[in-house]
Symmetry: D2
Subunit: 307 residues, 4 copies
């Protein structure tokens, strides 16, 4: 508790369930306020550095955001043979955008985020997250509900779509971005070899939610895969799900993954690698069982965290 002899008093308590939580001591509150859509805190923690916190949930931390963002972005980007037009829904910190832009194949990246204020706050306070990606000439930023934006798109508009939005919480702004209806629409708006990936909640605390998202992708795309990575600031292994019209990430050899990374100029990675790609898709029996019983999510029967 002591920092140079003094005790600390500013805490963030992130509730995993009503009866367990993670306690972070905070060095400094950088920003604390409320946008039109959500509560926002940007805090500097002792153990995870800068954290973006939305409605009391850590979204990203300096210490480990690369684990999350690389896990979300690269399996999908590598699965596509030549991703040129990329759509990001959510991703306010700009770090998903940063990872997408690392692929030289990208000619256009559109990021659609509901909450302009959060993006402005991240621009101002989290430069090491976005690394000026917002200023890249290939980038267009749109402030709009992601689903409405997608519905208006011409068919075949994008090669890859990355869904980096908050968890599906009852009453929250994001749960309709995890449904069969949305994935079907999204599929049409992708090119014939299109791929999408989404964050898919905790593999443990909301394993049924993770499983249902996987089932929804499997129901709406010819190929669907689930994977996970331990994200320390979430105190949990985190799930990701990918849907693809043609290519299967499991068929990529480590050599091919390595070749594509090199060709596209993607380097300096913290978490993702050819070896990791090869091994990331393991599903232990306890998750396999959750996958078996899960059903696709629909607009009228959404699945909420924790479940």
């Amino acid at each position: 508790m002591a920092e140079g002899g003094r005790v600390n008093w500013r805490l963030l308590l992130e509730w995993q369930t009503p009866t367990s939580a993670v306690l972070h001591m905070i060095k400094r509150v950088i920003y604390s306020g409320r946008t039109k859509y959500q509560e926002v805190d940007i805090v500097d923690t002792y153990d995870f550095g800068l954290c973006l916190v939305l409605d009391g949930k850590v979204q990203s931390s300096s210490a480990d955001e690369k684990i999350y963002h690389e896990s979300l972005v690269h399996p999908a980007m590598l699965t596509h043979p030549k991703p040129s037009r990329v759509l990001i829904i959510g991703g306010g910190e700009g770090a998903t955008l940063r990872e997408v832009l690392k692929h030289r194949t990208v000619e256009k990246a559109v990021m659609v985020d509901l909450d302009e204020e959060v993006v402005q706050l991240c621009k101002k306070y989290l430069p090491e997250f976005h690394m000026n990606s917002f200023d890249d000439p290939r980038v267009e930023i749109v402030f709009e509900d992601g689903r409405k934006y997608v519905e208006r798109l011409p068919d075949g508009s994008f090669d890859v779509a990355i869904i980096d939005v908050t968890d599906p919480i009852e009453g929250g702004p994001s749960y309709l971005l995890y449904t069969t209806e949305f994935y079907r629409t999204l599929a049409r708006k992708l090119s014939n070899d299109g791929v999408f990936a989404t964050q898919a909640t905790s593999t443990y605390y909301s394993r049924n939610c993770f499983a249902a998202i996987y089932k929804t992708a499997a129901y709406t795309f010819p190929v669907a895969r689930a994977w996970h990575a331990f994200v320390p600031s979430y105190a949990s292994e985190w799930g990701f799900v990918l849907g693809s019209k043609v290519a299967d990430p499991l068929s990529l050899t480590p050599e091919e993954v390595g070749r594509r990374l090199k060709e596209r100029g993607v380097n300096n990675l913290e978490f993702y690698s050819p070896d990791v790609h090869q091994r990331i898709f393991a599903v232990p029996p306890y998750l396999a069982r959750a996958f078996e019983v899960a059903k696709p999510i629909t607009d009228s029967s959404p699945v909420f965290m924790p479940a």
Copy 2:
């Protein structure tokens, strides 16, 4: 916080670092006391069921102990072609013993634990952990310091050794079970195709400790491998390390793993599977870098958690 309208007041705060912790609400304190060696709490938590807590660190929980114990035991047991004599150091709950005994090849299992009181408490209060394994006729229990016991053994006494002791903490009872000197002695006491595995601390909060344990195994055994599994009640991905005189777990195909599991009668697993075995050994770049710089641990220069 509410349980049927009432708020809860009994808490366990497990400190990961001096500035972050996991908070568990407790339904009931089953036992709380001090043995000759350590503080022991057995508590019933809302989210993880029964937990054995030694010196304030959750060792095992009903909810996820299988993830930990299967991860610790089966990769090593499967790597050995026919493990007959198995040594367990630590493992007071009896759950490591339970997993070892699942392999029909086992004719003798010796469990050496320093703290008889902890074993008696687990026998009494945690039957679903040990599942009466202590009464299996193949089993011998010895209450002694594991290192001293090993030093006295004739060479070639065991086929497999599983080290399931508390983390290497300064001043704690276990740190001398993670050193080059101990691993060298242990290697001699194993048969010519002997294999050992050890828990190896958090891959994140003590990644340098994990890496040093790996380096120590790699320095003392012809084959060494590191792997990890997310253990929710530890709020962390957990590391494991294996040293082997001959066989390499990476050379086992999923088919071979499946065949051995079946042949030996190992089933009803929660976490481990042929697919998981195949994929478990991935080392992401951030760990690979820790591995590169780590040095073998010696008695005179131990590595302590957190590091």
Copy 3:
């Protein structure tokens, strides 16, 4: 947090309201269980020593139980000119009994507690609270609901009654011991110069409850007075209320209080003194306003903490 270099993990979190609490670090859990009526924890805390905790609320601590028990007992005992027969309702720890027995005038003390198991636990684990008072030949212990016991008594049975029960919580065992109906019955069972005192909850967190208890005493006894003392382990100033058929504690001079204490052999006090008696009954304006608007409590319109 550190105790000899180690961090502490056993906590008691006593909720004052749903949004504030007091956190106590615990050295040792002495007992934790459930009786027929309530959850019981006896814990050894770093700052308050041994604490008896019922349903998550600290009832008494080694460090400051004398402040509470002296405040509860002596103003009422001193107000009566010669208390011979004393009734205690509640008071499981035996410390209220201990203070009562200090008065040499007492020939008979009957303690009526609902929960025999709590009394047995206190006898066993909290000897410094009861100081063997249970074995005093003047003492009779009855395990029964206090209100039912009182209803059966002949009129004029006792000189002084001390009500030392848990707070009036909705659904709890004690709220019917704070009502007009009960106080009226109690008044009949007291001698013609009878006095009663009751604990009366927090003067701040439940000031309306305190005020309503005062009003109930004022409605049912010719003389009623309220006072308070800061009880550190409650993190609050605590209220007490007295009802008297004849004597008014405010009319006792410090000299008379001192004389009675000496005459009766009451000494070695931590909190109560002639000077304190003189000054304890001050009512600051913010409490006076609560008193003005409060109404007597009845069986059919009880007042619950926090209010």
Copy 4:
């Protein structure tokens, strides 16, 4: 924990000792930063409203700052027959100033605070604390170390001095405002019938500190008195000490206090009243014993909280 179905995550943990604390849930962080002298947080809590927090210690809360400020100011102001020139050291919120200015006798009030930034923050964010007192034409604000300011004053400059500075913490900015040397200097700068009052820390958690401050006043002024009030947001009864050259507050009858309050136009008080004045100075035996053994504080042997 829930607020409209959501759980709260922003906490303030105020440590009373290394092993106990008060936990406040926070609605909103109004300001969080560091001045030249200290850490400053202004937060809106669920239970105490707006709080000014310096170095992790709650200084004042909307809910109960009147208890603190009235207790600090009025006993000293009333003890002086006609306080015209008043010096305040510290008191950044402006609430001590607000109480002083209520006395019509005051012609000049000088407030000397070390930390201009804190005063500016309070001006901006805590208008209900200062009530525009800073703009009163009788007021002069000086940003300087209080002790240095006092040392430069001509003798007899003020009638009353109120010391409202942070606790005497080792390494903190205030401990030299609690010593014999300072009180002696201060006495010279007061008029012949001068009175001073100071906050004097917790009567429980730092009772020896409280006692030493009393002893220091008693050593340097002809009359010294100690009193206390329960301040809920401090989770403690709080001590105050007064030194006077001539008048003794204990000799003021309730009638005289009432007359002076009325004459000076002091009304709408929350805590202080003629009755409270009469009764506030009680010293229970456990404090009396601390007073007996305490010694005056000197610059070279300061007393630090907690003690």
